[in-house]
């Protein structure tokens, strides 16, 4: 709750910021940011002339000048896939967590580790390879668009022509490594997107607010990233410190109270709206009064999966494995043309322009870990849980994608199960459509216990929505929430005029009004009747 003094300070800040914003947004299509020219032309470096047999030889060349880069990378979550959560004490990261898409990365190397920022992580029971040359510089710094980590090679691009997707007849050619090496630069949307847009096994599958439509989005889709808008790269907000990228889905900065990040004042991490827009960014004061309870995203991301790429909303693994009469796998599609069944993966439902789910959120996310016993009698099971409460000053109402589905669990141990879905071996689900075998093998490979008895439990998983911010005129209207049947229905713990009302007040109030009206009408009619009688 703002005191008077902060209101005044806020007004000053808001006015100052508005001036800046107007300069930015006043012109149709705000000015795209310009970047200072580089001090090095990498095509002039002898060590980048090649030839390179492998991408890791390029890394060796990079490290000759960028001597600390490999150590920096190896200290980041991008490398370790481990995240020690300070609030909950849980050890998270792709190395540890289970999700409601393909389950765990563990036992699905090298498919999953094709997105590791390195080369050759073929067994996740071990840490990533130690050699400095195992770090992948190019996936983040390629500017040609020709570098592509092949999906099944544990992080390497292909060095021979290879077919992908399997059976499609499309051949992926080996990349021109010297050309790529000579054209390295700052990271762009396509770099981050080559992994983050394709999480969950395909374009847009996982996040809902991250998909390939953001490589070059229209202004209406994302005002920050659009070339007609600010043309931001991911790292303009997800600022880095020695290759460590700010902004975490495990520990979200749900309410940034630092305000605008100015050198000398703050840590310069910019992965929150407030980092640039401040705490009171609206011209209308009443809107600024909402920021203590509402995340910016709640109004400014009215829907996700808006760029024409659907996101997966439901994934039922229990139906996987059905084959047609020729024992061939099946694929079916819904009326929108989105795949609705695959023998490898089960049933799906996809969504576009999805209205988010809203919840109080203080930024802390707790996971149901794979070895954690859960209450199997009360599904759905929450794969991750959102902390936060209405009366907690650190919480705000945030938008989420809720991923739902069914996934296997151990009926005896009452735990979720690692799923070995990918692999050339004959035990993976995608090679033989046999769940018991795949689960058995996953247990053997990962060392996680499996009793041999399993079933499928309905699960839910929450994904914070923060990207795909359209221009302000497409933000939610007041009536989107301040209405009886509003998108915030059921949020609880807050009085929203127009949405909440005391039913007894309404009953008594309207009854009084009705009685008065009735009294007036009866009295008036009586007057008419008596007057007529008198006249006659």
């Amino acid at each position: 709750m703002a005191t008077l003094s902060t209101v005044h300070r806020g007004r000053y800040l808001a006015a100052r910021f508005l001036a800046a914003l107007l300069m930015f947004a006043g012109t149709p299509g705000m000015a795209a940011i310009e970047r200072s020219p580089a001090t090095a032309d990498h095509s002039k470096f002898k060590s980048l002339q090649g030839p390179f047999e492998t991408a890791s030889q390029v890394t060796d060349a990079c490290l000759r000048c960028h001597t600390e880069a490999a150590d920096q990378i190896k200290a980041t979550t991008h490398w370790t896939w481990l995240y020690k959560h300070e609030e909950t004490g849980q050890t998270l990261g792709k190395n540890q967590v289970i999700n409601s898409f393909c389950g765990m990365a563990v036992t699905n190397e090298p498919r999953c580790t094709s997105c590791h920022v390195g080369y050759g992580w073929k067994d996740m029971r071990e840490p990533p390879p130690e050699a400095d040359s195992a770090v992948d510089c190019l996936v983040c710094h390629d500017t040609t668009g020709d570098y592509w980590k092949f999906p099944t090679l544990a992080g390497d691009p292909t060095y021979v022509p290879r077919e992908w997707p399997k059976g499609s007849g499309k051949i992926v050619q080996p990349p021109d490594l010297p050309d790529i090496a000579q054209n390295v630069g700052a990271t762009g949307r396509a770099n981050c997107g080559s992994c983050h847009f394709y999480g969950g096994g395909g374009d847009g599958v996982k996040h809902g607010d991250l998909d390939s439509s953001l490589v070059s989005p229209e202004r209406a889709l994302d005002v920050h990233m659009s070339p007609e808008g600010a043309n931001f790269s991911c790292s303009d907000c997800h600022s880095t410190w020695g290759h460590s990228v700010s902004g975490s889905r495990y520990q979200v900065n749900a309410k940034d109270t630092l305000g605008i990040d100015i050198p000398g004042h703050t840590d310069l991490s910019r992965a929150s709206c407030e980092s640039c827009h401040g705490a009171e960014p609206h011209e209308k004061e009443k809107l600024n009064h909402h920021v203590d309870k509402l995340a910016c995203q709640t109004c400014h991301v009215p829907a996700f999966a808006r760029g024409g790429v659907p996101t997966k909303m439901w994934w039922d693994w229990s139906t996987a494995g059905k084959l047609d009469e020729n024992s061939e796998p099946i694929a079916t599609y819904d009326e929108a043309g989105h795949v609705s069944y695959l023998s490898e993966k089960g049933d799906f439902r996809h969504g576009e322009n999805v209205v988010p789910y809203y919840a109080w959120f203080d930024g802390t996310v707790e996971y149901t870990m794979v070895d954690e016993k859960f209450d199997i009698d009360n599904p759905p099971l929450e794969i991750n849980r959102l902390d936060g409460a209405p009366n907690d000053p650190g919480s705000r109402i945030w938008p989420f994608k809720v991923m739902r589905g069914k996934q296997p669990f151990d009926t005896e141990y009452k735990t979720l199960l690692a799923t070995h879905v990918f692999g050339a071996d004959d035990s993976s689900l995608w090679s033989n459509y046999d769940w018991p075998k795949a689960l058995e093998y996953a247990s053997e490979m990962s060392g996680m216990p499996f009793s041999g008895n399993f079933d499928f439990v309905e699960t839910r998983m929450y994904w914070p929505i923060t990207h795909m911010v359209p221009p302000a005129d497409q933000a939610l209207r007041c009536g989107s929430c301040h209405a009886g049947e509003s998108r915030l229905a059921g949020i609880g713990g807050i009085y929203m005029p127009g949405h909440n009302a005391n039913p007894w007040l309404n009953r008594i109030g309207w009854l009084m009004v009705a009685l008065t009206l009735a009294g007036v009408v009866i009295h008036g009619l009586a007057r008419v009747v008596f007057r007529k009688r008198k006249q006659s």
Binding site: R477, G498, H499, A501, L505, V513, T516, R527, F530
Partner: protein
Amino acid sequence: MSRVLIFKRFERFWHWFQALLIFSLLITGFEIHGSYSLLGFGDATRLHTIAAWSLIVLWLFAIFWHITTGEWRQYVPTRDGLFAVMHYYLIGTFTGAEHPYRKTTRAKHNPLQRLAYLFFKLAISPIIWVSGLLYLFYNDWPATLAGALSLETVALVHTAAAFAMLVFIIAHVYMTTMGHTLTSHIKPMVTGYEDLDEPASKP
């Protein structure tokens, strides 16, 4: 009988501007409350706030006027003749009785009117004012107030007062039709003049 200026120019301006504002406030207010959708919540809120501030300014002028002219005395309640007036509205009006009250410029409201208007001025309006300002400045409440009061309570009180206002207006508008003719009570509020039994007051 004499033609007497009974509602002065400011009084009439005050009354009709206030009427306009109160109707605007009721229409937008019950939309904000969620009773129906007309302008949309955002526009309803904006109009409601503008009308509220206008009414507050108008009231400040009206209070000043009442004090400086001594017109506040018109609202001092009296029991003298109250029951006769009530009896008239309940029975006499049907039997063709004369209205028991004789209006003068010094006492232009009958005892029932005095009570009703006093209730409007001292109960309904202040409750609406105070709860409305609390509602409007909800985000600027000092911590002590925020600990003791909730927006929900303020909204409840504000809306309850709005219902009382609506009830008052229905009754008030109906009562204005109860003169010798349907409009004989309304005319003086427009022109200012009414034919009274008393001789024109002389300065």
